[in-house]
């Protein structure tokens, strides 16, 4: 297997995620696109980890970092959805465009 096939898959998913963050208006869908981005980073970490592990069997940094990213993504979704619920409760809408109280 080429290293690049996994890296390209990660890059494609990352760009689809960026498109989703920019093109979507619903808060929950923006969070889903952010999940796509975080996952595409994970595939890079695991691919580099496998590459490194093949040369030095004692080194598992790639996997460990992927696990940290998964843990932080879980925390991010929990807090993000709580914030979106709060916005929904106060404004009856989760359109990102409507949240413009800071605009002068």
């Amino acid at each position: 297997m080429l290293v690049n096939q996994f890296l390209f898959l990660g890059a494609v998913l990352f760009c689809i995620g960026v498109y989703g963050v920019l093109a979507r208006k619903n808060g929950v869908l923006v969070l889903m696109s952010i999940e796509l981005i975080l996952n595409s980073v994970n595939i890079n970490l695991v691919a580099f980890g496998a590459l490194w592990h093949a040369k030095d069997p004692a080194n598992l940094s790639g996997q460990v970092f992927a696990l940290f990213v998964i843990a932080i993504a879980a925390a991010e979704v929990g807090v993000g959805l709580a914030i979106i619920l709060m916005i929904y409760r106060n404004r009856k809408s989760i359109d990102i465009d409507d949240i413009d109280l800071m605009k002068g």
Binding site: L2, N4, V28, A54, G62, V64, L67, Y88
Partner: protein
């Protein structure tokens, strides 16, 4: 030339190509689907495919964690979020930004893909993995609890803080 090599049709490459095609199609549907519940379910396809790719990379523990945390917890959390915010069920036009925003988002995405793809190809070209060795769960735990002990504890504190923060934000008072 890579295309001419006989290893191109090895079983692992075919598995990679099939799973990757499903993942990319699923990801495109996540960001373009008009139905928010369907978008969440397409996300399941992408995340499950990612677990398959981790198994191809001989990273069994991360693959299982991916299934447990993402498919088991995060997607359910998204479905709760969709229902609690009374998102429109069925097809809806209010999920996306206007046409101009979509076009500029598309241009930004394609430009980013061009830059990333070019730099990845420039640096890694046709590098191969060589013989992949299974990265055993025991070795992963040895690594976490020796070299990465401090970051592990910091992540635990972060999870606790996120838990408390989510409860404080979401409760009714």
């Amino acid at each position: 030339m890579i295309l001419a090599s006989e290893t191109l049709w090895a079983a692992e490459n075919i598995a990679f190509a099939v799973i990757a095609a499903f993942m990319i199609y699923g990801a495109v549907r996540v960001v373009t689907c008009k139905n928010i519940v369907h978008a969440a379910l397409w996300l399941v396809l992408v995340l499950a495919g990612m677990a398959g790719q981790f198994i191809l990379l001989a990273a069994e523990f991360v693959a299982i964690t991916q299934v447990l945390v993402y498919l088991g917890a995060i997607v359910v959390l998204f479905l709760f979020g969709i229902m609690l915010t009374r998102a429109p069920m069925g097809d809806s036009e209010v999920l996306d930004n206007g046409r101009n925003a979509k076009i500029s988002a598309f241009v930004i995405g394609v430009a980013l893909l061009g830059v990333l793809g070019y730099s990845l190809w420039e640096y890694f070209k046709a590098d191969r993995f060589g013989q992949l060795t299974v990265q055993r769960t025991g070795e992963v735990s040895d690594s976490i609890f020796s070299a990465y002990l401090l970051p592990f504890e910091v992540v635990s504190v972060l999870l606790l803080a996120a838990l408390i923060g989510a409860i404080v934000l979401a409760r009714r008072d």
